[in-house]
């Protein structure tokens, strides 16, 4: 027999009160771990989605948050558009020439003529057209580069893979300009398969549907990014839909009536494209190296045509502004729960003191010193706090893997038993257990002061 086994035996003898006190400690710690796990999932989700494979978004001047949310998360209303010729500013002379030859039309000679091309040398610029919906999901008109050049994943090194089919192409003999790739969630929820024809509705979910459909030629594997919730169509086909033709505008921005007319096309397979001067883009995804990116952003923001925002900057700003304070508020609340649990340890052991006075006195009569008795009571509170805390820690971490079916689908983040652990956990969980231990000091002192002569 030693002090530890005496303490263990005392606890196991009072099974129910011990179990209930441990449970309250376990629940408190499990809540804290759960809050840390949830905030970890939010952080990872933000990290994954902000790690989108490009470092700048260029769009019409306005709200940087709206531009980021619309482009990265496919949320919020689309911002205004910018001219396609502005997008061509990111191409070097030979690229601009090729683009002109490919598309055709009247290229207004831009003032700057490929001004930004050297700043994205080695990187890329991908145009996005937004504003339509496929069902409740956003329809994004873009080029095949979206899936050929963009990467995803924590280290931004994963190619987009197709669970079925392939990427859409600029023009196919089978479907003309009207091919689409859909994200995993879109395919699952809309029950789409290869060959399914999808029709975009103009301007809003449930709006007027375009007559021309797109044939699904690829379904993405789940990526855990907002792209799982996107329907991507060939930008060339997108431009040919009704209402997607940019009109001429005067200096005040007024539309010239009858100018927004689509080119005549006899069949779906016609190779006629919307000319450059009738094209607009909603956003341009830019990838370039860090220093050039900063220079590019500064330069674009100085211009009157567009703004450039860093999605990582906007997202981490939001994270710091909203998510982190909420996390700390939740942690404060759950820590209070733990303090209440610690008080319950105190009350539980303290209440047992009155019925254990005789036992304490007997041990003293057998030669136990006051220090022995204090140590036994402290070991009991340590055991309750540590075992309860450990059970809570296990339970808190087990919730993640158990909820993976839902979490992975909703956020793309898979939670393994220890995959979400924050630095705070290293301090908070032992801290809470320490509080539980400290709570044992008061009953231990009561035991220390027990009068042997009166209690025998």
């Amino acid at each position: 027999m030693n002090l530890f086994t005496i303490a263990v035996r005392n606890l196991t003898y009072r099974k129910l009160p011990t179990a209930l006190t441990m449970l309250s400690m376990a629940l408190g710690v499990a809540l804290v771990v759960l809050v840390l796990t949830i905030s970890g999932v939010i952080q990872k989700t933000f990290d994954r989605t902000s790690n989108v494979g490009y470092n700048l978004i260029v769009g019409a001047k306005g709200s940087d948050i709206q531009l980021t949310f619309n482009t990265v998360f496919f949320l919020s209303q689309p911002v205004e558009n910018i001219q396609y010729s502005y997008y061509m500013e990111y191409m070097a002379d030979d690229g601009r020439q090729k683009e002109y030859e490919r598309i055709g039309g009247v290229l207004k000679e831009p003032e700057r003529s490929g001004l930004y091309s050297f700043l994205i040398k080695g990187g890329f610029a991908i145009p996005l057209c937004m504003g339509d919906y496929i069902g409740t999901f956003r329809c994004i008109g873009t080029t095949p580069d979206y899936f050929n050049l963009l990467k995803h994943g924590n280290d931004n090194d994963l190619d987009y893979k197709f669970a079925k089919g392939r990427n859409f192409v600029d023009y196919s003999d089978e479907h003309g300009y009207f091919e689409a790739v859909v994200g995993s969630q879109v395919a699952a929820e809309m029950k789409l398969n290869l060959g399914s024809e999808i029709f975009a509705s103009h301007g809003a979910a449930g709006g007027a549907q375009h007559d021309q459909g797109f044939v699904v030629v690829g379904i993405l594997e789940p990526t855990g990014t907002p792209n799982d919730r996107g329907a991507f169509v060939n930008i060339e086909g997108f431009y040919l839909l009704e209402g997607h033709v940019a009109p001429n505008r005067d200096e005040a921005g007024r539309e010239e009536k009858g100018s927004a007319t689509a080119p005549e096309r006899d069949t779906k397979w016609s190779k006629v494209r919307l000319p450059i001067e009738r094209r607009e883009v909603t956003a341009i995804l830019i990838k370039t190296d860090g220093m050039k990116g900063i220079g590019l952003q500064r330069q674009v923001n100085k211009s009157k045509f567009a703004q450039a925002v860093s999605p990582i900057g906007v997202i981490s700003g939001l994270l710091n502004f909203f998510v982190k304070p909420i996390k700390w508020a939740l942690l404060a609340i759950t820590s209070l729960v733990c303090i209440v649990s610690a008080i319950s340890i105190l009350v539980g052991i303290y209440n047992s003191m009155s019925e254990r006075k005789r036992d304490i006195a007997v041990m003293r009569a057998l030669g136990a010193s006051r220090d022995h008795i204090t140590a036994i009571i402290l070991v009991e509170s340590v055991l309750i706090a540590v075992v309860g805390g450990f059970i809570g820690w296990i339970a808190g971490h087990a919730v993640g893997p158990l909820s993976n079916a839902w979490t992975e689908r909703a956020t793309g983040v898979r939670i393994d038993f220890l995959s979400i652990n924050s630095i705070e956990e290293l301090f908070i969980v032992p801290g809470l257990v320490l509080i539980g231990i400290l709570a044992g000091i008061i009953p231990a002192l009561a035991a220390y002061r027990t009068s042997v002569a009166k209690s025998l």
Partner: protein, 229 residues
């Protein structure tokens, strides 16, 4: 082995006056001697055992155990002396309900500083006839069996002196003699001195040396004389 000289102890009464409980000029017990201290309730028997064992400190006087003066020691030192050299048998057995018979006996060894073979717990339970009840909880034992466990526990640390406070007061008559014989036999075998307090003539008659409290405790004798007047 145990020498008590001029031992005094008083308690404060509710009115604030001090009531002298013990005033013992002399009491000696030799090694392995078996002594009964007989007296009525309120005579200070239990207080004397508490002071000898160091649970309560005396106001004045001297208690020497094997030549060592105990009254000058700090409480923690007295705890160690009690753990190493004394055994205590209570009137109400006071077995700890969470522990089995064997564990209760081993508790008696836990706080002693000297090395004691862990098998001694089993040997003692064998001696008191409870080898088949070692792993029973106190609630699963009869009253007589519980007191036999208490005797084994008091001897677990190989004490020099066994203090017994009315050990058969709660035991049925059939078991009383058995318990007393057990205590006497085991203590004789292990060369342990006994100081047993009781108010029972029947038990006192089983011991060779019987001290009457009113003879050794002047405070009690004075109280009796005052009440008779």
């Amino acid at each position: 082995m145990l020498e008590i000289r001029n031992l005094k102890k008083s308690y404060a009464e509710p009115g604030g006056n001090k009531l002298l409980i013990l005033d013992i000029p002399q009491l000696d017990i030799a090694q392995a001697e078996q002594v009964v201290l007989r007296g009525e309730s309120g005579g200070g028997k239990t207080t004397l055992l508490h002071i000898i064992s160091g649970i309560v400190s005396a106001d004045s006087g001297s208690i020497r155990l094997d030549g060592t003066e105990l009254t000058q020691f700090s409480e923690s030192r007295r705890d160690r002396i009690r753990a190493d050299k004394m055994g205590y048998v209570f009137q109400t057995f006071n077995l700890l309900p969470a522990f089995t018979a064997l564990e209760n006996v081993r508790l008696g060894m836990t706080f002693a500083r000297k090395k004691i073979n862990a098998e001694r717990g089993k040997e003692l339970l064998n001696k008191v006839g409870l080898s088949d009840r070692m792993h029973y909880l106190p609630s699963q034992l009869s009253v007589g069996q519980q007191q036999r466990v208490a005797v084994a526990r008091a001897l677990a640390n190989k004490p020099r002196l066994l203090l017994a406070d009315e050990p058969t007061a709660n035991v049925d008559p059939a078991n009383q003699k058995r318990i007393i014989d057990l205590i006497k036999d085991v203590c004789r075998e292990e060369s342990v001195a006994i100081l047993m307090v009781t108010h029972s003539d029947e038990i006192a008659n089983q011991f060779g040396r019987v001290e009457r409290l009113e003879h050794i405790n002047r405070a009690f004798a004075d109280r009796i004389a005052t009440s008779e007047q």
